[in-house]
């Protein structure tokens, strides 16, 4: 069985879980999932999969070459390698469906978080900020950033304002609430890093 797949984030909604309680859910859609190669590294079988359907003119020629060599006629933009769990036999050209995931299973979702731009220390690091009133002029300021003569400099890695977001984020143990093999949709409980349309990796827990 393949250890994971790349999905597109479709959006959020609320759907009932197995107890009938409405829970927040993120809808994810699979676009692709065709095997283009199988290889062995250190005795571990790995599968190269293709995702994200695109026009041929928008895809680098080396990727198209790999796809055609594997006998894949559709054009995909992304190639990504995943582990092969268990002793399933797979061959190039085979399409992996979303039913490798089952309802109730827990998965990890890896994505790139939304970019927040240049942010202050209060939003970025959760600093307390200064007082709002009584003559205070230090509302959202960082405050002191160092000591005195010793060390006479600011520590490396000091938390300060700067670019926030657009980091690789892993959310662990999200429960799968829904799987639709025909429409290639799944829904996981809770939120997932990234914007709508972003690509996220959904990884099986066993492949950690």
């Amino acid at each position: 069985m393949i250890s994971g797949l790349i999905f597109h984030k479709v959006g959020m909604t609320r759907i009932p879980d197995e107890n009938g309680n409405f829970v927040p859910a993120t809808v994810l859609r699979l676009d692709g999932g065709v095997i283009v190669g199988v290889r062995q590294i250190n005795g571990e079988k790995r599968v190269i999969l293709s995702f994200d359907r695109a026009k041929e003119k928008n895809v680098p020629k080396p990727i198209i070459g790999i796809l055609r060599k594997a006998g894949v006629n559709d054009t995909f933009k992304i190639l990504k390698e995943f582990k092969l769990l268990g002793s399933t036999e797979v061959s190039p050209g085979q399409k992996i469906r979303v039913d490798i995931f089952s309802v109730g299973e827990k998965v990890d979702v890896i994505g790139v978080s939304k970019g927040k731009g240049f942010q202050g220390a209060m939003k970025r690091w959760g600093f307390a900020g200064g007082p709002d009133s009584h003559g205070s002029m230090s509302h959202r300021r960082v405050g002191a950033i160092g000591c005195r003569t010793d060390p006479g400099r600011v520590w490396k890695g000091k938390k300060m304002p700067g670019r926030m977001g657009y980091n690789k984020v892993t959310v662990k143990n999200l429960k799968i609430l829904y799987v639709d093999t025909d429409k290639e949709l799944i829904a996981v409980k809770g939120s997932v890093p990234g914007w709508i349309g972003a690509k996220v990796i959904v990884r099986k827990k066993e492949s950690r």
């Binding site: 909604t13 759907i15 409405f22 809808v27």
Partner: protein, 107 residues
């Protein structure tokens, strides 16, 4: 931006969880809602009677609010319309109001 297509996927997914067996609700209606209630290993049906003061939301997010006065205390209960906990809804009195929300009214 949420594309038209992504909204379609969500609507399609939500449609699997929508209930078509319940009557359409309007504000002003007097209704009785029967809900499932789990008690250890027994399952009971509990009624809640009152007047619909609000129907809001769409898809699985649709909820309605029922207001009732029990022993001098006003009780508002908000139900998710498509909840599997709702067994059935009886419409006792159908007198729709002109207002969409009846938050100001005492019953």
């Amino acid at each position: 931006m949420a594309s038209v297509k992504s909204r379609e996927y969500i609507r399609d997914l939500e449609s699997k969880f929508l209930r078509n067996d319940l009557p359409e609700l309007k504000t002003g209606q007097k209704i009785k809602v029967w809900t499932k209630y789990k008690e250890k290993d027994k399952e009971r049906e509990v009624p809640f009677e009152g007047i619909v003061i609000s129907v809001r939301g769409s898809g699985t997010n649709k909820t309605f609010t029922v207001r009732n006065t029990t022993s001098g205390v006003q009780v508002d209960r908000i139900f998710p319309y498509h909840s599997p906990y709702i067994v059935r809804i009886e419409i006792l009195q159908d007198s729709p109001r002109k207002k969409a929300k009846l938050y100001h009214q005492q019953f």
